[in-house]
Amino acid sequence: MSFTITKQDEVVVVEVEGQLIVGNRQELKQKVLDELERGGRKFLIDFDQTGYIDSSGLGVLVSLSKKIREQGGELRLANLNDDLKTLFELTKLDTLFQIADTKERALESF
């Protein structure tokens, strides 16, 4: 489980490798909040290498989305596999987030 942060132009891209679950969600939250603190406003979380996400992982995404929006920024998601899409649909979080099929499309959409 790891999170890799890169910058592509003005967009902070976070890659989630492995699971996003109760044991590591705080690490993701802190990393994104640190970038927000440093002035980042456009955030993309890439799930291309992600296994499964539990409810606390979903909760962190909701929380980050709110905090980023409060600072005038935006959070977008990309590369959800079929399992993750189902998870977002079940919880109706697909209606809360802007989700792109690929990282490139997400980057273009900012």
């Binding site: 489980m1 699971q19 679950i21 109760v22 044991g23 296994g51 499964y52 996400i53 539990d54 409810s55 606390s56 979903l58 909760g59 962190v60 909701v62 929380s63 709110k66 079929d82 399992d83 189902t86 998870l87 079940l90 919880t91 109706k92 979080l93 209606t95 809360l96």
Partner: protein, 154 residues
């Protein structure tokens, strides 16, 4: 952590459909992933549909384990969480036992998809367990038991 009567390390022969194990983990969320990995592996060895092994099992099980560790046992390292797994090949049954007082399954579940709940950070765990498993039961027997049953989907 020791599995018994499972053969999960050596692979399950095609003719052998009954698999069970019973193990304990300390109340630490860092143990969740290894238990989920184990049950996912058995799910695949028993040739359950890929989707059930990659989505239903890991999400529902990680919810049940984190509830047991964080709420049931309040992260007390002296209190173990017990995981009992059983499959006859047609369904998976996982029982998670913690040392807490238990909770009312119906009253504790709210609908996180309602507009007023959608932006809440919490409140999706039991909903996901119920959505992804065919049956969820909770009862007290030697601890607080959450029993999850998943039938083999066509």
């Amino acid at each position: 952590m020791a599995a018994t009567d499972g053969g999960v390390n050596g692979g399950v022969p095609p003719h052998w459909h009954h698999t069970s194990f019973d193990l304990e983990i300390p109340s630490d969320v860092r143990h969740i992933e290894s238990i989920v990995d184990l049950v996912q592996r058995v799910c695949r060895e028993l040739a359950f549909p890929a989707r059930q092994c990659s989505l239903n099992v890991p999400v529902a099980l990680s919810e049940a384990l984190s509830n047991a560790i964080l709420r049931g046992n309040q992260r007390d390292p002296s209190k173990p969480v017990r995981v009992r797994f059983n499959s006859d090949g047609d369904r998976l049954v996982v029982e998670i036992v913690d040392q807490g007082a238990g909770f009312d399954l119906q009253r504790s579940t709210r609908d996180p998809t309602r507009p007023e709940n959608l932006t809440r950070e919490d409140g999706r765990g039991l909903f996901l367990m119920k959505s992804l498993m065919d049956r969820i039961e909770r009862y007290n027997q030697g601890g607080n038991v959450v029993r999850m049953v998943m039938n083999r989907h066509a």
